[in-house]
């Protein structure tokens, strides 16, 4: 059987080359023209612990990591133990043996291939080559394109010298030979695509960095935190090429403070963090809103509360993103579905921040952070860029003047006559402290009413399906991609179901939520958190009373979970 959608999972001990093996497979598939969507889990510790890298490859577009794997490659006994329950009839299973640290009790119907990875690598002189033996075997067994793989291995190891390169290529070849000697009993094969498209392969975190560069990022400040740090790595590598500035701050309070300083100075500025960092930024978000200083804050969510599950997936910062700060504090909150959004919505986050002069939070999540995906080549000129409203230099400058659209023109330092104060104290139109009730009411109204335009800027929200449906699913973040596939499968079975995929979470597009709800018999909100945070806001802000479908086990939903939940609800 040929399947136009294959999932390969490589699992073993962290440090054994699991991640690089997965990367090689992913890059080779993408180079051969296949779409890829990867999924990784790794321990919070640096050395040891279970690591897993899963590559889903297909000639058709992919929206999520899939239900489970078709092919498992286990480097050790732990990887086998942890995945054994998923070894169902028809699954292919490649493992380290003989000579590995375990003897599998292969379930019936599973196609097992014993490759002596450890033994062969040792014989060839270096245990480090274990993953290359495995990669060669996988390439032979499942038609992972050999030529692209050789090119990518060469590109990676050439700079380490010919000896290293040769030994890796030899191990790869040996792996292929070992696999070729085994009888092939399963029928999994990569299917080559009909045509190649112009794509790039990026992780969610790298794509956010790229989006920021496209938006015209000048200044980036951040403090290291899992799972957001790769954004800083990407920016650190490429921002200097554009003449921009990156600083690693002493903490997250300082990073947002630096961002506000740079923004006041007239530059486009952002920071990236995870939940614990966002919690520290709460007071400074209020300063951004009160002083109407634009800023972009990326929160790559992880399992919480407190230190929580630092390397695991969760969508549980929505409450904090929308309301985290003292006083009545407005902001705009966006969330991204996949890598393509990570580029486009980061640009959008800057545009909104510059236009509305307020904090814009962009929510990503732990699995998307490290998921590499193929996306169409992002042509920089295709992304519209918005500049902040600038003072025209006429008359007396009033920084906080109340205008028709409630947005006041800005003047960067160095503008003659534009001197003003950016202040967190309540102030009047020129920025002088003013604590009268009438002034506070007028200025709060100004700061909130300027955001009235945001929903319009962002309409329409994507609706998946037409007309009436028995059931509607609302999802946000990377859960959207899972719901898309779940809905497609349900439709194929004749189930009447629709999807609603908001990317702007605050201010809420209330009318569109309600219009969607009006076409659905029942509504369910699927999200990866305990409390049902989006469902909570929907109940509070709209006339909908959705059911909440939540999980918080550190992993994303799968399409199969969505399918069975819908069936259960419609039973």
């Amino acid at each position: 059987m040929n399947k136009n959608d294959l999932i390969i999972r490589v699992a073993g001990e962290g440090g054994e080359g699991i991640i690089s093996t997965g990367d090689f497979i992913t890059q080779a598939c993408a180079r051969a023209g296949l779409e890829v969507y990867t999924f990784k889990t790794f321990p919070a510790e640096i050395k040891g612990g279970y690591a897993m890298y899963q590559t889903r490859a297909s000639a058709a577009p992919l929206f999520n990591q899939g239900d489970t794997f078709d092919i498992l490659c286990a480097f050790n006994g732990e990887a086998y133990d942890l995945n054994r329950s998923r070894l169902r009839p028809g699954t292919a299973f490649v493992y380290d043996g003989p000579g590995g640290d375990f003897e599998p009790d292969v379930p019936e119907g599973v196609h097992a291939y014993a490759i002596p990875m450890t033994k062969t690598a040792k014989e060839m002189g270096s245990i480090k080559a274990k993953n290359m033996v495995a990669l060669g075997a996988l390439s032979q067994l499942f038609d992972i394109p050999e030529q692209p793989l050789r090119e990518i291995i060469a590109a990676k190891f050439t700079k380490k010298g010919t000896t290293v390169l040769e030994s890796n290529l030899n191990a790869f070849t040996r792996g292929r030979e070992l696999a070729a000697a085994l009888p092939k009993t399963d029928s999994w094969r990569m299917t080559a695509p009909a045509e190649k498209r112009d794509v790039v392969v990026l992780s969610g975190n790298d794509a956010i960095g790229l989006g920021a560069l496209i938006a015209g990022l000048d200044f980036f400040a951040a403090y290291p935190i899992t799972p957001a740090t790769e954004i800083a790595r990407y920016v650190a590598r490429h921002l200097p090429k554009r003449g921009g500035t990156l600083i690693q701050a002493e903490d997250e309070i300082a990073s947002l403070a630096q961002v506000l300083g740079a923004s006041f100075a007239g530059k486009k500025a952002m920071t990236a963090t995870s939940g614990p960092g966002l919690a520290l930024m709460g007071e400074m978000l209020g300063m951004s809103f009160m002083s109407e200083t634009p800023c972009v804050v990326v929160d790559v969510q992880r399992g919480g509360p407190s230190t929580g599950l630092p390397t695991k997936h969760e969508q549980s910062d929505l409450f904090m993103a929308i309301h985290g700060s003292h006083g009545d504090c407005g902001r705009i909150v966006l969330s991204v579905e996949g890598v393509s959004d990570c580029i486009a919505l980061t640009v959008e986050a800057f545009n909104l921040a510059e236009k509305y002069q307020c904090p814009v939070l962009l929510l990503s999540d732990g699995s998307l952070a490290f998921s590499t995906q193929t996306v169409p080549y992002p042509e920089p000129a295709d992304y519209p860029i918005v500049a902040r409203k600038a003072w025209d230099g006429k008359g007396e400058y009033q920084r906080y003047v109340i205008t028709d659209d409630y947005i006041s023109p800005m003047a960067a330092p160095g503008t003659p006559g534009g001197m003003h104060i950016a202040t967190g104290l309540e102030h009047d139109e020129i920025g002088q402290p003013n604590y009268t009730g009438a002034n506070h009411e007028a200025m709060q109204a100004k700061r909130f009413r300027k955001l009235d335009g945001v929903v319009k800027d962002f309409a329409p929200v994507e609706v998946d399906g037409e007309g009436d449906a028995e059931l509607g699913i609302i999802a946000w973040g990377s859960t959207i991609g899972v719901v898309r596939e779940g809905i497609a499968r349900l439709r194929a079975e004749g189930v009447s179901v629709k999807g609603f995929y908001p990317k702007l979470l605050w201010p809420m597009p209330v009318e569109q939520f309600e219009a969607f709800g009006a076409t659905c018999g029942k509504v369910v909100v699927a999200e990866v958190n305990y409390l049902g945070q989006l469902a909570h806001f929907i109940r509070a802000e709209t006339n909908l009373r959705p059911e909440s479908y939540t999980i918080c086990g550190g992993l994303p939903f799968t399409p199969a979970m969505i399918v069975s939940k819908v069936k259960e609800m419609l039973r």
């Binding site: 890059q27 180079r31 692209p148 794509v199 790039v200 392969v201 990026l202 790298d206 790229l210 560069l213 000048d218 200044f219 400040a221 200097p240 090429k241 554009r242 003449g243 921009g244 500035t245 600083i247 701050a249 002493e250 309070i253 300082a254 990073s255 403070a257 630096q258 961002v259 506000l260 300083g261 740079a262 923004s263 006041f264 100075a265 007239g266 530059k267 500025a269 400074m284 300063m287 002083s291 193929t374 080549y377 992002p378 920089p380 960067a412 330092p413 160095g414 503008t415 003659p416 006559g417 534009g418 001197m419 003003h420 104060i421 950016a422 202040t423 967190g424 104290l425 002088q432 402290p433």
Partner: protein, 295 residues
């Protein structure tokens, strides 16, 4: 000073030209009036163009100062003036950055930021207005309060030892450290002027009496215990600076004058070098970066 002072755009102005219409809100007899006067004088003597001056503060009595100075300015959060100023400075190295704030703002809630301003050598002038008490919240002990001070939350007297801001900043690598008294406007003006002309992080501690909440550190006692540095004090010698402060401590004295000055690259200069190495410029073709992610 042999460095090009690109962070100081100059114009010819008088002291009064730096005043705003807002009237200082401090109590009569507060040392902060003297600091402000000294600051006006320093700005006029240098001739800083107010359009290229950014005056930044946190929260506290002294942090209201920017409202009284004609410039671009930011009145930020408690303890956060330093990092906000860092952002302004790195984003726009052509601006003159003047930060001021109190002892609680800079050395309690904001204490974690001070080492990084110093070691990174951010090109700004930080004027500490140290009254050794929390004024705006009506008189609690601060990290620089003398231990025996009876105050709002220490009715039986305090139990904690104070820290010394100048020793703190010398330790963390500030490239310009000085101390003066608010009652000595002439020296305050002179040190702020030198600090602003210094390329790098300049820290000027001004002991600024609080006549309302701190009765043990009044103008008279500050003056009585102050001791000018010796004529032969070597400002380029960090050991001499540390020694001067430690000796003064032993004798119950407050050393005043320029303690230390060091010429070394600022963070924005190092970053500019980095951009140069990367061949960076705003027109760099983004497609070259995107192409790196082709499979």
């Amino acid at each position: 000073m042999n460095c090009a002072q690109t962070h100081l755009h100059k114009v010819e102005l008088e002291t009064k030209d730096y005043k705003t219409d807002a009237k200082p809100f401090w109590c009569p007899g507060c040392g902060d009036h003297g600091v402000l006067t000294g600051m006006y004088r320093a700005l006029a003597e240098i001739g800083v163009d107010p359009n290229y001056l950014v005056n930044i503060s946190g929260i506290g009595c002294s942090s209201r100062l920017p409202y009284f100075v004609r410039s671009y300015k930011m009145h930020t959060l408690h303890g956060r003036a330093g990092p906000v100023a860092t952002g302004v400075q790195l984003a726009r190295p052509d601006l003159a950055i003047l930060v001021n704030g109190g002892d609680g703002d800079g050395f309690s809630i904001g204490g974690g930021h001070m080492p990084h301003l110093a070691r990174k050598n951010i090109n700004m002038t930080y004027v500490l207005m140290d009254n050794r008490v929390y004024g705006l919240t009506k008189g609690q002990v601060s990290p620089t309060s003398q231990r025996q001070m009876k105050a709002y939350t220490t009715p039986y007297g305090g139990v904690e030892e104070p820290l010394d801001p100048v020793l703190y900043m010398l330790t963390y690598g500030a490239s310009f450290v000085a101390q003066t008294l608010a009652t000595n406007v002439k020296m305050t003006a002179q040190l702020i002027k030198e600090g602003m002309e210094h390329r790098g992080f300049s820290f000027i501690s001004v002991l600024s009496q609080c006549p309302t909440f701190n009765t043990i550190d009044d103008a008279k006692s500050f003056k009585g215990s102050s001791e000018e540095l010796q004529d032969n004090h070597d400002v380029s010698d960090i050991d001499a600076a540390m020694h001067a402060v430690n000796m003064a401590h032993k004798n119950g004295k407050i050393p005043v004058g320029l303690l230390y000055r060091q010429e070394r690259p600022t963070l924005d200069e190092r970053m500019a070098d980095l951009v140069k190495q990367a061949g960076g410029h705003p027109g760099y073709d983004l497609r070259k970066i995107i192409d790196l992610s082709r499979p």
